[in-house]
Amino acid sequence: MGKTRVARTGNEAMAEAIRQINPDVVAAYPITPATEVMQIFATYVADGLVDTELVPTESEHSAMSAAIGSQVAGARTMTATSSQGLALMYEMLYIAAGLRLPLIMAEVNRALSAPINIHCDHSDTMGGRDAGWIQIFSENSQEAYDNLIQAVRIAEHKDVLLPIMVTTDGFIISHAMEAMEIYDDKDVRGFIGTYKPLLPALDHRNPITVGAIDFVDYYFEHRRAVAQAMINAKDVILEVGREFGRKFGQEYGFYEAYKLDDAEVAMVCLGSTAGTGKDAIDNLRKRGIKAGLLKIRVFRPFPAEELAARLRCVPQICVLDRSDALAATGGPLFAELLAAMYEDRSEHKIINRIYGLGGRDIKVGEIEELLSAQVSAAAGGKSIDRIAYLGVRE
């Protein structure tokens, strides 16, 4: 098993994964901060390093439409986007899932307008959370690369057949360079295998109709099948994560727990903030506060039972949301985690902080202060708000 230690940005890491996957078709439209993924990949196409048909479209709606058409035809297809681009794909996202197409997307998280902003938050990805796409978040370039390789196997598994997006955090990961390991082409290609489409439309000996009208008679049954595919994805994600670990050294599951076993307070987050959080946890531990961290890797399907089980013994939980559902009830991760913990009998105090909108930095010190304030409030000290905004001028 060959590995090469290199320095790569998140976008470079994702472009490298796409080169190694060597998809039949890539359809995309540029948008900051994901543009570079396709810009780099386009040079691979121009240099003849891949066999991919690259389709530059006139919009993201068209990019997703072209990707759907290509996948229906029987081609392994990928795309990349961010923010408004993902928003413009919105109606097609549901179609990709409903048609059960294992499309693969590199998604670079960025805030949504208005006001216009090109920096990181998770509002774009959260907008697609009920579309039937599997959603995997990455903490750094290494995870972005590893997740994208695993995404192929997860999406194309016969019990799943759902589209999948692997996300990085705009600029924080996408444009920041760090050390990582890349694997040999032959090992990656051996791991992902050859794509065998279930019912390729280009098989003229077996003609099919795709996207037929489906009224009250069978629509419900078809949607029930999509729901089952997402349920099935849980086992497949774990199975692929274990196999990846055996082959490449790093195993992946639904989440990563950091110093959680004896924690009296834990922060829960997605993406790059886990890196910042781990430093804060280390500092808090030095000060004698038993803090831990749970980084959620898989947001769709939401691993509710597993998260509840892992957090069962942690009395104080702080959910950090890098997007606001504008539901007047806190962020989306908070809502999902609360629901997951509801069945649990033990006593938890779960608070929510919405942070980092539009790329606002979250600092190690802010997390330390937040978690120590929660511990102090639990011990009868100054009380703190259940839901609030962290790092905003007020």
Partner: protein, 99 residues
């Protein structure tokens, strides 16, 4: 519409229809509010209706218009519109008038 499955698990993945020519099993004639009535005496068999019908509801026999497939005709009226003005062999009649 005939039952194609008793269980959601038995349906083809992604709502794909995995055999050709199944539209004939899907009777859409009950969407109709206006029924085309074809007059064989007036008809000159130019087949303009057959060409323009967006379904395949104009039935032919030996190259001549035999009648309308009312199980699939949705009553759009294009056949009546395209029938030459001097012929006017198709008339659109309210479905209610047949009840």
């Amino acid at each position: 519409m005939k039952d194609i499955a008793n269980n959601w698990k038995d349906l083809p993945v992604g709502g794909v229809i995995d055999e050709p020519g199944t539209a004939i099993n899907y009777e859409t004639g009950d969407w109709r509010t206006l029924r085309p009535v074809h007059n064989k005496e007036k008809c000159i068999n130019c087949l303009a209706c057959w060409v323009y019908c967006p379904d395949a509801a104009i039935m032919l026999k030996d190259g001549k218009v035999e009648g309308i497939d009312l199980k699939h005709c949705k009553g759009c009226g294009i056949c009546a519109q395209e029938c030459p003005p001097k012929v006017k062999a198709i008339k659109m009649v309210e479905e209610a008038d047949f009840r």
